[in-house]
């Protein structure tokens, strides 16, 4: 089938502002958008620029705005989108070139929530024990691949760029609810800040955007509840 592919292009060495370019691509309905971008780059315009690596939805390199929703280009198929496909960079992060955005600010927010296990007790000789129920408590938030699809789909983040954003809260959740971790209070204090969990307006864009199916809004609400319980 023929697909009309529109891509928001921007080359800082040539362009004053982003502009749409159109391409016609022969595609199979099972092709992913990443296949289309690769074909355009190989056969029509080698200057088209995007990130990609694993190409099957686990590395998080190729999140972009596809027909108005944040998706991984390697995981969304042509048959889910139709013959007209529009691709733009993620919203709210500085565009470096074409579909490539500057991720440094995103990763700085991730680092700000102390995304690592802090255990006060000395490590035993063997593994720390954890029940299956305790392990299940934070399973959902271990799936995050830091693709930024959630944070850049969030209207609160667009309005308040200082907001730490759903992805960072998801990664804080992963440790706050891990029974082996002893630094939950410090993380909750960070997230009780004005740019923390209270910026969430439960719009659910993040849940729609997450390519890993994480129930992000629920994770944020669980963290919010923990912040409240801690302060009473």
């Amino acid at each position: 089938m023929q697909v009309d592919l529109r891509i928001l292009r921007f080359d800082p060495e040539r362009d004053a502002a982003p502009h749409w370019e159109s391409y016609r691509v022969e595609a199979d309905p099972m092709d992913r958008v990443l296949n289309l971008l690769t074909v355009v780059k190989a056969e029509q315009d080698g200057t088209l620029t995007f990130r990609r690596s694993c190409a099957h939805g686990v590395c998080g390199s190729d999140a972009m705005l596809i027909n108005g929703r944040n998706r991984l280009a390697c995981k969304i198929r042509v048959d889910q989108l139709g013959r007209k496909i529009a691709v733009a960079p993620l919203t709210g992060l500085p565009v470096v070139k074409d579909l490539v955005v500057d991720m440094d600010g995103f990763f700085a927010k991730y680092r700000s929530v102390m995304p690592f296990l802090i255990a006060d007790t000395p490590a035993p000789e063997r593994e720390r024990l954890q029940s299956q129920a305790d392990r299940a408590r934070y399973d959902d938030t271990t799936k995050c691949i830091l693709c930024a699809a959630c944070t850049t789909a969030c209207p609160s983040f667009w309005a308040q760029p200082g907001y730490v954003g759903p992805a960072a809260i998801v990664n804080a959740h992963r440790f706050i609810f891990d029974t082996r971790d002893d630094a939950g209070d410090e993380r909750l204090e960070i997230l009780a800040d004005k740019d923390g969990v209270w910026r969430c307006r439960t719009i659910f864009n993040c849940v729609d955007a997450c390519p890993r199916g994480i129930n992000i809004t629920r994770a944020i609400l669980e963290v919010s509840r923990a912040v409240v319980e801690r302060s009473v």
């Binding site: 992913r32 190409a55 590395c59 070139k97 995304p115 000789e125 299956q132 799936k143």
Partner: protein, 582 residues
Amino acid sequence: MRIDHDALVIGAGGAGLWAALELARAGVSTGVLTKLYPTRSHTGAAQGGVCAALGNQEEDHWEWHMFDTVKGGDYLVDQDAAEVLAREAVETVIELEHMGLPFNRTPDGKIDQRRFGGHTRNFGEGPVKRSCFAADRTGHMILQTLYQNCIKAGVRFYDEYHVVDLIFEGGDGGDGGRAAGVIAYRIGDGELHTFGAKAVLLATGGNGRMFAITSNAHSLTGDGMALVYRHGIPLEDMEFYQFHPTGLYGLGILLSEAARGEGGTLLNGDGERFMSRYAPKLMELAPRDMVSRAIYLEIRDGRGAGPKKDYVYLDVRHLGRAVIEEKLPDITDFARVYLGVEPLKEPVPIVPTAHYAMGGIPTDLRAQVVRDEANTVVPGLFAAGEAACVSVHGANRLGTNSLVDLLVFGRRAGREMAAYCRSAEAPSIPAGVEEPVRSELEALRTRPEGESPAVLKAELATLMMDNVGVFRTAAMMAAAVAGVAALKERYARVRVSDTGRVFNTDLLEARELGYLLEGAEAMATSAQARKESRGAHSRDDYPERDDVNFLAHTLAYRGEAGPSLRYKPVTITRFEPKPRTY
């Protein structure tokens, strides 16, 4: 721009991150360079688990793991290295748990373990539960956990810096020189940076992108292997390349062996569990080389499935929803998303997919790069993970041992580098050392006309898939050697269409194609010369293993007229080579 550290780690997958963590803990000034963001590294795609003889589910011993590794590698494994691997697997897995890795748990709260191909109890009696796992995203959790701990330790990262050359002092790498640093191209603005260091670790991963059907990420182009090869250091055992039995049909996306470890079966077009013909004892849990060959033979003999009879099935329907959703959620999602197949209701079409380089940069047990059959060390240069060949995988790697390898030898590399940095003096790097590579990149960027690298890359991928795959013949390998030489010749004249400096992926993909060609050359030439069948190297004109002539590691040295080959003895300590049946 010039930047100095005591140690440099190239690549931020599992091996690089663990090495960086050790260096940071030792207080050594360290920079980690990656052409991606660290969490994009391909360690994150590993699924099924990491083997360690914890004995949490049933009796197990590291000696059994060592034996399985040696036998699985068809006795080409260096047994001193396999001993280190199996012993230290236990403490590295425990340390990962202490770092926070969310392993699945047994009912009594210990790390859960499951079966995996080629891993047995009591020296081959039957399958054993040895693979420690976090659902079917164990690699993702290893990568995340190590990155998290690097952040905690304050490791300095240089994200999206593409290493384009190595610097040696006092002679080339293959000629007595010592490592002195690297030259890196900052992807964001196209600037070249010279990094000086006493110790350099190459943890750059594999090169599966030279094959048309592969489980490998686009970034896996064998950069580290190609760079040492260009500096006179040989590549070891490159003819041994693993084809994983269960790649999604037509795509090559991996479906973990964990599916078979949990009880999934393989069916041919007649609905028959064909592994009974090839490995009656271990069945679907035989080592990967044997299962991939079995699939290939079923298809060749007309027992494939589908309209073209060119695939077989992985069947997990009988495992039930609970097991699938708790232990195999990601791979069932892959089948749904990429083939539109519902594994709860129908079997999944699969074919072998290019997966893992057993060979690579030769190293010793301390992760130091060695450059000849006498194991002469290249001072200051280290390698670990898939880029390296220590050799724990020999002629065929067992499932999960890639993760064990990168944990054990990544950790060793970091510790050895820290010790080396304490006594080594800082190198002196002459000004202008980056000029030759700058000229190469400028020539590539500004060449007014020439062939498209994308065309050459597609030709290379088809050439290697067709001729250096699961089964090989003399004629196929001759075609591969000649074909790669012709592509290298054409590569000298390729033209990129993006002439910009900001985020020029067109230029870097062309550069990476050059690395793939170096690896393909070493692979095809090494394969052609090995006149036996062993592990993943299987040829119809020499169907038997030949321990008299080929119980030896190949060393391929780059030469202008094609590679020259030398051989290095295999280290045998506990287990004499025996016929390999399962």
